[in-house]
């Protein structure tokens, strides 16, 4: 179950170009995400919107709709998708490195399960538990609940998985399984208590959507998803040492327990904050790191930022398809990420298997 340390040399030539390539892909995807979609925008509308945003010329009346599509709907959505996708990708890479397990994903540390439990509770009991507070918090109740729920679940998992100050990988894994099982059971209780409409809301929440992205969310997401993602990328060196084993890493001077705690915390914050606004989005955290590894080897200096860039790219493109394919309806974005990514991943896997 340990990660194959891909042989370094054959792929070395591709590595240098990997990060600029990833950044270019992400930028291209984001540009496409802003320019394309079911509501057509003209060149004139785009120009007028840009001039208006830059304060050069006021917006002519005929382009008000174009400006709304670009500025109110698409721009915050694309930025949200890039940030959340990057957070999921980097967190997934970090968890696979930390647990030295190719099946690890952010769900393993309880963060998605905890966020789901809290979100479902907010959907079902929102007004009755929080009463007046639900009115004041309004649209923020669900994201705040999901964020706090995700963090609490990971905290619980980390506490349960730490014995005498040491968080062993196997113990942590089992603690994660237990926390997820508990969260899943309590989510089931909430579904039992939900009415028909709430059950539908829950279903859609668990499939993910970026349809609710607004500018007001972006500062929060930039801080709570963006910063932890950057910080995870900065942990590449200790993660590389961890690939050799914890004892070996310790002898290389890595403070193993602090690195583990830090990585868990950063991944939990990034994933919980993203999921809070978008609902559960599968596939990105699990498979995007593998895509990077298959292409460029297991060096975390590439895998962590590469997974972030590719995760953002995949989610931006998936969201573009989600809002375009079934227009004027919209597909759940979690479905599209898997539909896009899984066949590509299988193809890569087969090709690599035959080549090796």
């Amino acid at each position: 179950m340990s990660l194959a340390l891909a042989t370094a040399s054959p792929r070395a030539r591709g590595r240098v170009a990997m990060l600029p390539l990833g950044a270019a892909l992400l930028a291209a995807a984001m540009l496409a995400g802003v320019l394309l979609g079911p509501a057509p925008v003209t060149m004139g509308g785009l120009t007028a919107t840009v001039l208006d945003v830059l304060g050069i010329a006021p917006l002519p009346a005929e382009y008000v709709r174009d400006a709304a599509v670009l500025g109110v709907i698409r721009a915050p959505r694309v930025l949200m998708a890039a940030l959340v996708g990057a957070g999921l990708g980097a967190a997934g890479a970090a968890m696979q490195g930390l647990f030295r397990n190719p099946l690890a994903d952010p769900g393993l540390i309880g963060v998605s399960g905890g966020a789901a439990l809290a979100a479902v509770t907010a959907i079902v009991l929102g007004s009755s538990i929080f009463g007046a507070a639900a009115g004041v918090m309004g649209l923020w109740l669900l994201p705040v609940a999901a964020f706090v729920g995700g963090l609490l679940a990971t905290l619980m998992m980390a506490r349960l998985g730490t014995v005498q100050g040491v968080a062993g990988v196997a113990t942590l894994l089992l603690a994660g399984v237990a926390v997820n099982a508990l969260a899943g059971a309590l989510t089931g209780v909430m579904i039992f208590m939900a009415d028909d409409r709430q059950v539908r809301d829950i279903t859609f929440w668990t499939l993910g959507s970026l349809a609710g992205s607004r500018w007001a969310h972006l500062p929060v997401v930039a801080v709570l998803v963006g910063l932890p993602t950057l910080a995870l990328c900065a942990l590449a060196r200790p993660f590389n040492a961890l690939l050799l084993g914890e004892a070996e890493a310790f002898h290389l001077g890595v403070r193993v327990e602090s690195v583990k705690r830090l990585a868990l915390t950063l991944a939990a914050v990034a994933v919980a904050a993203g999921v809070a606004f978008t609902g559960l989005i599968g596939f990105v955290g699990l498979v995007v790191p593998h895509l990077v590894r298959l292409g460029f080897g297991a060096d975390h200096r590439l895998v962590l930022p590469g997974a972030a860039l590719l995760g953002g790219t995949l989610l931006v493109l998936a969201d573009l398809l989600a809002r375009s394919l079934a227009a004027p309806a919209e597909l759940p974005v979690g479905v599209v990420t898997a539909l896009l990514g899984a066949p590509f991943f299988l193809w890569l896997l087969r090709r690599r298997g035959m080549g090796a």
């Binding site: 496409a32 320019l35 394309l36 979609g37 079911p38 509501a39 057509p40 925008v41 003209t42 060149m43 509308g45 785009l46 005929e62 008000v64 709709r65 174009d66 709304a68 599509v69 109110v72 709907i73 698409r74 309004g138 649209l139 039992f192 939900a194 009415d195 028909d196 409409r197 709430q198 539908r200 809301d201 859609f204 959507s209 349809a211 609710g212 992205s213 607004r214 809002r323 079934a326 227009a327 004027p328 309806a329 919209e330 759940p332």
Partner: protein, 289 residues
């Protein structure tokens, strides 16, 4: 730049913003009852798209689909160039509605209250948004509805349960607070499951204790289960008096549970199913039924 122009070219022809008419003429209707109201008011030809819960009248079937009304797509809705979006109060999610509002979309929320007065209010709200006179339709529907009040109140309520589905394990049965519960009460039935809100699996023990005389179920659900015998073989129903009475009443859910302009007629039809031969006044056929 050339690439960008190519990307955008497809949209150029469609863009021309809708000319601002006095009354809305490109309507998006979201919610089965809301859509029926628009058509009952005689302006159904202005509807350009509907949601997946809008299935009547037949004219809506060829229209673009905006998907399920609890999973609205802001950009998809904007792309329809509508000058009025009538959204059932049940539409969502709230976050998508916030985006639509921020984008300046012409949305109007239509209240959904499952009573005779609520239906009349719904019709008037739709009419207000469309700047047409809604009183004739609203008053007629309300009068039809109220003409049934006294005759149905005089009947002995039938002890009934509403089964939403029974394909796996315990059947999902309506408690209080659902559209089905509201229509059962209006149609002269006593919903014997009142201990919870919404739909829950009903255990065989509980079913035996509450002893319903009749089951109301949607016709397509009954068909999927395999007919009356298959339904009554479900353990939770096999222990009830329904096995002897065999009173399994199949209804068209999109008609009986819509609480739109056809609701008075639906109420009478359900009451006649529950009370065969009851002396209920006949309702004249209306333009919207």
């Amino acid at each position: 730049m050339i690439g960008r122009r190519v990307l955008l070219a497809g949209g150029a022809a469609v863009l021309a913003a809708p000319a601002r008419a006095e009354t809305p003429h490109r309507i998006v209707a979201v919610g089965g009852a809301v859509t029926e109201c628009v058509f009952a008011l005689g302006v159904g030809d202005r509807v350009v798209a509907v949601d997946s819960t809008s299935r009547f009248p037949a004219a809506v079937r060829g229209l673009p689909q905006i998907g399920y009304m609890r999973a609205l797509a802001p950009e998809g809705l904007i792309s329809l160039n509508a000058d009025m979006m009538l959204l059932s109060a049940d539409a969502g999610p709230a976050q998508a509605l916030a985006v639509l509002r921020a984008a300046g979309a012409p949305i109007r929320s239509i209240p959904e209250v499952p009573t005779g007065d609520g239906i009349a209010a719904k019709i008037r709200a739709v009419a207000d948004a469309l700047e047409v006179d809604g009183r004739p339709v609203a008053d007629t529907v309300l009068a039809d509805w109220q003409s049934l009040d006294a005759p149905i109140a005089a009947l002995r309520p039938v002890r009934t349960i509403f089964v939403l589905s029974a394909s796996r394990g315990a059947p999902l049965v309506s408690g209080a607070g659902t559209l089905a519960a509201a229509m059962l009460a209006a149609g002269g039935a006593q919903n014997v499951v009142s201990g919870y809100n919404g739909y829950r699996p009903l255990s065989a023990e509980a079913a035996a204790q509450i002893a319903p005389e009749a089951v109301v179920i949607m016709d397509h659900v009954l068909q999927e289960i395999g007919g009356i015998d298959a339904l009554l073989a479900v353990p939770a129903l096999a222990v009830t008096p329904v096995v002897r009475t065999r009173r399994v009443l199949a209804i068209d859910g999109s008609y009986v549970l819509s609480f739109g302009p056809r609701a008075a007629h639906a109420r009478r039809d359900l009451a006649m199913l529950l009370h065969p031969g009851a002396p209920l006044p006949a309702l004249p056929a209306r333009a919207w039924t």
